[in-house]
């Protein structure tokens, strides 16, 4: 049988891990185990992927597909004009959003993890407090922070005024210069528990002897952190980066809740998924399906490309550390 041949050559390749009594599973069993997953994959992920590509290459009149349009829909986004301005602006905001979130989330997550690692009492409670925002729907997060930041009765500005920092009581969500950083802080507030838990586990896995040995040799606490602890955390930082990147490229809810579907004020918080949402579902243009599909394809290519690259770089970096 062809199958048996394939398996036995594979068997030779991984002889160490295999035991003598492994059986070739029956086709019926395989179908039973894999068919549900593969069917859903095909209908909801693989078919739409090709479908989107196809849609993006045709012209449209509402939901009716017209003739082949070549790269027209893509040119719309990529040639100079309003569409490209919007795309570049949203893309830029996504990049700032990613960089800002990484910086805040990683620094705070690391700080919390190091502090928690040294903490003796109430570790469980503290960990829970920092991870609690994970449970809150991003739309609710957006709403509760709008309340906190409201210029009239928001706790943030009231607190700042209360301690005499009147000049810092700013319109956090209303000023185009402040709105994006504000949304970034809110997003980091929600997700900081993730890097914290990850770094916490990595810290717990570093043998105490390493630090002790270095200290005996006269290393300061900072040197121990920089030379021993930090390098051992690099794989965790890589993981956080990739997952944060994929999450941030798709960010929409929290911004939608705080700044509306236009990414107010003055488009200062517009991001790619919001732009896609407006193009696909709030667009009077009869060519909406072609345009939004082209945007979705562009986003997919970018996210896929960067993720693959990042994973490759991480593998190499990890290889070097070992």
């Amino acid at each position: 049988m062809v199958q048996a041949g394939g398996v036995s050559s594979e068997r030779a390749a991984r002889g160490r891990r295999r035991s003598r009594r492994s059986r070739v599973p029956s086709v019926r069993l395989l179908v039973f185990l894999l068919a549900p997953a593969l069917a859903l994959y095909s209908v909801f992920i693989i078919y739409p992927l090709f479908s989107s590509l196809q849609y993006s290459l045709f012209s449209w009149a509402g939901t009716r597909q017209l003739g082949f349009a070549g790269l027209e829909n893509f040119e719309r986004w990529l040639q100079p004009g309003l569409y490209r301005e919007r795309l570049l602006r949203a893309f830029g905001h996504n990049m700032i959003f990613f960089a800002g979130t990484m910086l805040l989330q990683t620094t705070l997550g690391l700080a919390f993890a190091v502090l928690l690692h040294r903490s003796r009492a109430g570790k469980r409670f503290l960990q829970t407090a920092f991870t609690l925002p994970h449970l809150v729907s991003p739309i609710v997060v957006g709403y509760l922070w709008s309340l906190m930041l409201s210029p009239s009765f928001g706790a943030v500005n009231a607190g700042l005024r209360g301690v005499g920092l009147e000049s810092l009581a700013l319109p956090w969500t209303g000023d185009p210069a402040l709105s994006l950083p504000t949304v970034i802080v809110v997003n980091a507030w929600q997700w900081v528990g993730f890097p914290m838990l990850l770094f916490g586990a990595a810290l717990a896995g570093i043998p105490e002897e390493y630090g002790n040995a270095a200290r005996v040799d006269g290393a300061s606490a900072w040197q121990v952190f920089r030379k021993i602890t930090f390098p051992l955390l690099i794989p965790a930082i890589g993981t956080v980066s990739v997952l944060t990147f994929v999450g941030n490229m798709n960010v929409i809810d929290v911004i939608y809740a705080m700044q509306g579907s236009q990414g107010q004020p003055a488009g200062s918080t517009d991001v790619l998924t919001l732009l896609f949402y407006r193009t696909a579902f709030q667009n009077p243009d009869p060519a909406a399906i072609g345009q939004s599909s082209a945007l979705a394809v562009l986003m997919f290519v970018f996210i896929f490309g960067v993720s693959m690259l990042a994973i490759r770089v991480m593998r190499r970096a990890e290889g070097r550390l070992r």
Partner: protein, 302 residues
């Protein structure tokens, strides 16, 4: 793909009497330990404050919320009232959206857990041609953004006549939950000692009994973590609901969002609504907290 086990390097030579510290440095250590604790507690309070503010706001009348900040309840506790909740719970649109959320979340979670367990078992424990390629495909599709699928699936649902229905929302969530779920469970199942499975096979167990008696019980923690994550994603989702759920099928997130758009300072509806949407995840979290932390860690093991 390396497995999750962190390769613990051989411990360094035990250092003779390593931290031989003097009395003074012990005092400093104790003090800085205290400082760490204080800083942590302050940070934790700060982290809990916005959610606490939401809770207090939901317990104040619309007039009070429009007249002063929520922290004034500390001096005037008489402001607290359950009227907002009473009114919200008698609002049919809201209670319907709560049940829609429940009927979307439960099947989405159960289906993902069952379908992913079956597939992960095959990927972890059976040898079949093309297995590694197929698994690679599963993992690569993790990065397919939801946006790519929205329009084609919306058209497909239109043809099938399930556009706007709970079924459509559920199927979409299940499909997009699978890549992560299969990835997580396959890695976990692969860590179950091979001897246990071999022993069960020697005893003449069928694949089904092995799955039921060995893999499912041992994989319990991973399955629980996955269940919690899938539950939270679906419960808190907005985008999928926005596109696929009609008014009759809209979950709480969509109901809240349409309230927000009207933005006429309706805190008396939004604050209690937002808090009620948070209560079920809180209960689930405290019931399965252990698995939540494990899941965060397991999900990120590459």
């Amino acid at each position: 793909m390396t497995t999750g086990t962190v390769q613990a390097p051989a411990p360094a030579e035990p250092v003779a009497g390593a931290p031989q510290r003097g009395f003074a440095s012990r005092i400093v250590g104790r003090l800085s330990g205290g400082a760490v604790q204080v800083v942590l507690v302050l940070l934790a309070v700060f982290w809990l404050l916005p959610t606490f503010g939401l809770l207090v706001s939901s317990l104040r009348s619309q007039q009070d919320n429009n007249a002063s900040g929520w922290w004034t309840v500390f001096t005037e506790p008489a402001q607290l009232t359950l009227t907002n909740y009473a009114e919200l719970l008698s609002d049919d649109t809201f209670t319907a959206s709560f049940w829609n959320t429940v009927w979307i979340t439960i099947p989405s979670t159960l289906l993902v857990v069952v379908i992913a367990s079956l597939a992960a078992y095959a990927f972890a424990w059976l040898e079949f041609p093309g297995r590694d390629w197929l698994f690679l495909l599963v993992v690569a599709l993790l990065v397919v953004p939801v946006q790519v699928a929205l329009i084609p699936v919306a058209k497909l649902y239109g043809l099938l006549g399930i556009f706007g229905s709970i079924t459509g929302v559920v199927l979409f969530h299940v499909a997009f939950g699978l890549p992560f779920a299969i990835f997580l469970l396959r890695n976990f199942f692969a860590g179950i000692p091979r001897d246990l499975l071999e022993a069960a096979r020697m005893d003449g167990g069928t694949e089904w009994t092995i799955f039921r008696r060995v893999v499912f019980p041992l994989g319990g923690p991973a399955i629980a973590s996955l269940g919690i994550f899938q539950f939270l994603w679906v419960w808190n989702d907005l985008l999928v609901a926005l596109v696929f759920a009609g008014t009759d099928a809209q979950p709480m997130t969509k109901a809240l969002q349409s309230q927000m758009r009207q933005f006429t300072g309706n805190i008396d509806i939004l604050a209690p609504g937002a808090f009620l949407s948070l209560i079920v995840p809180l209960v689930v979290f405290f019931a399965f907290q252990r698995y939540f932390v494990q899941g965060v860690l397991a999900g990120s093991v590459k």
